[in-house]
Amino acid sequence: MSNMANNPFTESDTSTSVATEAPWNVIVLNDPVNLMSYVVLVFRRVLGFDEDTARKHMLEVHEEGRSIVWGGEREKAENYVHELHKWQLNARLEHDA
């Protein structure tokens, strides 16, 4: 299983991140290929969601075309997008300006 520890974008020291910066959002977009059940599994594996949360976000993606699945500091958001890409989900990063 892929994991964050093998991610080349992970840095060991994040102590310099600016706490007051507007959050970066991880967005997952709908696609006609990935199965609903698969998306729930990916959300659980990558983002650590429980089943209810994973299902809620999956349905949001399916019905509204997108869902914000995480928000916070940029570096961690990039890691999540990268992991979601490894699982072939259409994920992107957006700055909540």
């Binding site: 299983m1 696609d31 059940s37 698969y38 299902r55 990268h82 890409h85 699982w87």
Partner: protein, 162 residues
């Protein structure tokens, strides 16, 4: 640990391989998803991002090919969770490519709801579509084993149709 019983004819497996193998090879060089959303204009970052995805794709794709070949000789397959997850990722990548290369003329809705009429498929589309559907059912079976407390997703489709 996912365990699946699969009976597959050599003829059908060959049809699958005719589609999967060339795509798997292509995925050694080209990712299946769009990288337009990679969050930086930095070329080095983009390259590292792509290389990391390709490395994962190679690993996942090779395992899927190995597993498909194994289906000919073994009726029962036992996978570790990691192997099942690798198979799931590879199946997704290959389905994305099949859609892009062979099935792009069909609407998102038709593909999402499995509403492609086989009779409307051209000869060059039939094998890719069968492969697309086979890999989807294979993914469903694996997900059901990985999440035993899984929801009844048929219920969701019924809600959609109301």
């Amino acid at each position: 640990m996912p365990k699946l019983s699969i009976q597959i004819s050599p003829h059908f497996l060959q049809a699958l391989m005719d589609v999967v193998e060339p795509i798997e090879q292509r995925l050694h060089l080209q990712v299946a998803i769009s990288l337009d959303s990679v969050p930086d204009d930095d070329e080095l970052l983009l390259e590292a991002w792509r290389d990391s995805l390709l490395e994962q794709l190679r690993e996942d794709g090779e395992y899927l090919i190995h597993l498909l070949r194994k289906m000919l000789s073994e009726e029962s397959l036992t996978l570790t969770d990691e192997e099942a997850e690798s198979t799931l990722r590879a199946a997704s990548a290959i389905r994305l490519k099949i859609r892009e290369v062979f099935l792009s003329r069909f609407s998102e809705e038709a593909l999402e709801r499995d509403q492609v009429d086989m009779a409307r498929l051209g000869p060059e589309e039939r094998k890719p579509y069968l492969c697309f559907m086979f890999l989807a059912r294979f993914q469903e079976a694996l997900v059901a084993q990985l999440m035993p407390d899984f929801y009844d997703f048929n219920e969701l489709f019924e809600e959609d149709e109301d």
